[in-house]
Point group: C2
Chain length 623, copies 2
């Protein structure tokens, strides 16, 4: 893939950075964060401003353009991809490496005295604004909000903001009605003595109202905000979506409801002025609850004395703990997903030796098999279908320029998932369709040992996920190996494939303690630049664990894999497994055979069933 | 032990909290932190204000007294001790438990509107002031500095501040001269573009000048501050200690030195006015470097714009990485310490069955054997000598009221250490002098597995210690057990037995990455209230590890135990050990036998040598 040539674009951006038409005073630097106004990870094409200006389209990255420099911060998943997609105008700032400066420190080191640094106040989260602004100010510079997005001013063919129809979810899927969710939210608000709650994250709006959309690819969300008062509900949403009778019925827009459940529908763009009006109406001690990751613009709309900011909202925390209906839905979704993958891997085993399958056709075939399953909606993220050296690009997405043919000589890594109406999946399997080398098997087995160490871990109630991260790395560390990404993320229920507030990472972000009902991924890996990538990922449910003792009556937790797809035994060096690990693999495969085997049979997919039975033969230790 | 009766004292304190003689305006709450003006962990008797007002004399705790309440925050190590030592006037706030409020939140919940909360600005660290002050202010209260310490006003028989002679350490012990340390410090200052550095921690002053003292029990430090400029050195210290010819010679006070190495000696009490003068003399961009844990009083002495605050000072970080002379000294100290403990345990094995040994006499005997070793100075902390239920009081110190007789029916836990001129030791062994129960052995073995998991861990360069904490707990967690304290702390070199900036803890404090030359403890445990306590502690040195591969050329680290004292094999349930763990124990014991055996022989301690040989017999797995 050739990098995007950005010389002309950067020239234009530097012009508007000085143009009185857009900025009150010239800015010496302009920050282009990844997100949209909702701090979404996945964004609509109209919000892909950082990709537009730089060419780098990975899911995480921040661009900063000064008069002399253009720099891009991204993390270990994207070092190779960013280096490939950006031209020489750009400097890559590798986050997580010791010598990489923070954005603030870098700005301080390159800016002339008394500079102004501009940013779109809707795109930058309030917590990040605060941190950057403080450092910049202490170095004599100023962070300034630029109302008009400067990228939009030079992006002549910027796509329209999407406004697609909504899906309503009934109680069978959600387990709890939107009215009951509002009641629960108001009770949390009362506990914290706040009068208003501003819902800014798209998945939180969707979850709260039991609605889904398709405004953003892969994430079943729609552009909207909500402001919940103790007696009012305001939903800010555009288009004629509220004209849909199913939606009107679902939200009871035409019923005579108690006033506190009456939803006022308002234009999406009116959130700022409405929130400013709420802010202006407050008396002392009346508070407005916002996420500290809400945009600077919305946060500033509420006078500081009235703000109540938390890292995670009560919706985020409630959403993470899946109820029985959601858990059952997730189980069903994972069974269907496993059926599709058994079909795929059976097909690949036959087709790869012919030399006709590419990364792209394999990904397409995976989507085809998934789309045959009931309640399939769309993929849950861009399929990572990568073979050989492409596997080392951690968040690789095959495109024609990089597309490789799958062969019996290279490792194949497939990280894929789907949105079903009953749940979201995310699974990675690493396969070899020929004979893996001893070294490839060795590395795969270390990754597997890490995967098992997390999946089988027992830990006290109240443990935060980051305390489990080293378990995933220990076997790799013993041999001097490691991987430069976290081990797991929260997974939504027919919602975002990445969600807070829990996760498993060496980065000690403020994760909330794990509790029964939470769902996370377990995905250690190992990557060799230029050679291959290995990752083994299951989605796992936090469940209570039975233990011999029970210290301080705290209770213990462990994980139950929801993903039930065979782990290729050909890749395992059995001599490196402990007996406990070997038993784990055999028990896991037995469950795959029972549960997925029954569904394959029910669906009449007998060839895939035969494949499943072959792939789940118990491992035996060769003495 | 009976609790201290504090009714009268609290009454007096509440009176001075309202007395115009001491406070400009009445304060509705008064905070009594643990520390002294240097934020020391171990403090001189004159600084034990929290113990004076409450009776609770553990090493960590903060008291807050309001007109209605008296509350004490402390951590899991001290729950039992604090409950025993405090009367009913006090409420114990168990830190680390889910429902325990923070001090700020508690204050907000109990104070009447618009309250003033007082604190001694020399005792409260600036970072803590900032955090509390923010929360209090946002709830309509005020944190106010009270110049005169209110405890001191009611403490009629408060002891004098100690002012003992100094010890000078030559290059054989320190490896680096104080002049070279000043040069290195100034180069760090130049890197960060700061003109002044304020040394506030007592161990940092001692380390910088290669001096030791005995103003504080167990910690070989002396009351002093230093302010280092690019061309000046000011040492704030009281008494006639600078009259000692050895000290004058060591500091070259009477030599004709280059001016930038000329030490100006000033009175201890003049630090505030001197620092205010420095602060007043600064031009824009001139910065003063302070620890963010320095007192609020000293931090405020420097105008905010000129402050450069970091969680760890360059001295703290340099001090943590021991050079070759220090490492060799630490090795020598640990060999001597092990000799003393072999003598002790041999003696205990003979004496305990007679029923004449108590926790106190055992501790005294340990000190006696240690004091026979070369360069012994004092103990490095109050010996924890505890048997049976006392073992469950994590930082127990035997006193006549609680003193138990050691018996062949109870577990005995000894956590002890010493200051030698060449190094500091800290070791815990848990023994049984009769026949331990299967359950006691089971628990001991889980703790041992955790100890080994940390000690034998291999991890990448740059790893922070907190990422290793779960390794120590995994075997306990598997059975539903845990312990409510961290796993390890930094250890000084003939300095404080607890030092920053590294450690091993589930609390994700901002620890610095581990690097070769750092020295930490490895001390998992298990405690059953009312029954017994188990802890196995070695001091370990971070060393480079040889690994099969070397990902990204980062290199790997592991630990080498400096402590070489047998781990009682009678307490081990061998069937619970993996082969790797069994080999670790046998290799460790072989090293103990070789190294300590040779020294016991050299010192002619032949009976202890026989004991060592018996105790280091290799474990054999019974098939």
């Amino acid at each position: 893939m050739s990098p995007k040539i950005t010389t002309e674009l950067l020239k234009q951006l530097r012009q508007v950075m000085k143009s009185p038409k857009y900025v009150q005073e010239p800015v010496q630097a302009y920050i282009v964060p990844s997100g949209d106004a909702h701090q979404s990870e996945y964004i609509a094409p109209c919000d892909c401003r950082r990709a537009f200006i730089s060419g780098f389209d990975g899911s995480a990255g921040t661009a900063i353009v000064t008069e002399q420099h253009a720099a891009m911060w991204t993390d270990g998943r994207y070092f190779l991809q960013a280096a490939n997609q950006m031209d020489n105008n750009w400097t890559l700032m590798k986050m997580g490496l010791k010598d990489t400066p923070t954005q603030e420190d870098w700005l301080v080191s390159v800016l002339p005295e008394g500079s102004k640094v501009g940013v779109d106040p809707f795109i930058i989260p309030a917590d990040q604004w605060k941190r950057m602004s403080k450092v910049l100010r202490s170095a004599g510079h100023d962070l300034v909000p630029i109302k008009e997005n400067l990228i939009d001013t030079i992006w002549t063919d910027c796509p329209q903001r999407p406004c697609k129809p909504l899906i309503t979810l009934d109680l069978n899927y959600t387990g709890v009605s939107w009215r009951d969710k509002i009641v629960a939210l108001r009770s949390k608000m009362a506990e914290r003595k706040v009068l208003w709650f501003v819902v800014t994250a798209l998945d939180e709006v969707a979850w709260l109202f039991n609605l889904r959309g398709s405004d953003v690819e892969y994430n079943p969300v729609f552009f909207a905000y909500a402001v919940i008062g103790m007696n009012t509900i305001r939903l800010f949403i555009d288009g004629d979506r509220m004209a849909d009778p199913a939606v009107r019925e679902h939200l009871q827009l035409d019923s005579t409801l108690e006033p506190e459940f009456k939803i006022q529908v308002m234009p999406y763009g009116s959130i700022l002025t409405e929130l400013q009006a709420v802010g202006a109406s407050l008396s002392p001690k009346e508070k407005v609850w916002l996420s500290d990751k809400a945009s600077y613009a919305l946060t500033e709309a509420v006078p500081k004395a009235y703000r109540y900011l938390t890292p995670y909202t009560p919706i985020c925390i409630a959403k993470a703990v899946k109820n029985a209906s959601e858990t059952e839905g997730m189980r069903r979704a994972h069974v269907k997903d496993a059926v599709a993958l058994c079909e795929l891997f059976n097909w690949l085993e036959k087709e790869v030796p012919k030399g006709t399958v590419t990364e792209i056709t394999a990904a397409d075939k995976a989507e085809e098999f998934r789309s045959q399953q009931k309640d399939f909606v769309e993929l849950s993220f861009a399929t990572i279908s990568s073979t050989g050296p492409n596997g080392a690009i951690i968040h690789y997405k095959p495109v024609p320029e990089t597309n490789r043919v799958l062969s019996v000589n290279e490792i194949y890594l497939l990280d894929s998932g789907a949105q079903y109406k009953d749940g979201t999946t995310d699974v990675t399997r690493t396969m070899h369709f020929g004979t893996p080398s001893a070294y490839e098997k060795e590395c795969f087995t270390y990754v597997l040992k890490g995967h098992i160490a997390v999946s089988a871990a027992i830990f006290p109630n109240g443990t935060k996920g980051h305390l489990l991260d080293s378990f995933a790395r220990s076997a790799l560390w013993d041999c001097g190996l490691d991987y430069l990404h976290g081990t797991g993320h929260g997974v939504g229920s027919f919602l975002n494939v990445h969600e807070g507030p829990c996760g498993i990472s060496y980065k000690t972000f403020a994760d909330e303690p794990l509790e029964a009902g939470m769902i996370v991924s377990d995905e250690p890996g190992y990557y060799e630049d230029g050679s291959f990538g290995i990752r083994i990922e299951n989605v796992v449910l936090v469940i209570p664990a039975e233990t011999k003792y029970n210290f301080k009556n705290r209770g213990s937790l462990t994980f139950e894999p929801l993903t039930l797809v065979p782990i290729q035994t050909k890749m395992i060096d059995v001599s490196l497994l402990t007996q406990k690990e070997l038993n784990w693999v055999n028990d896991y495969h037995q469950k795959c055979r029972e549960v997925i085997g029954a569904e394959l049979e029910r669906q009449g997919r007998l060839e895939a069933l035969q494949w499943l039975i072959r792939e789940t033969e118990p491992l035996i230790r060769v003495q």
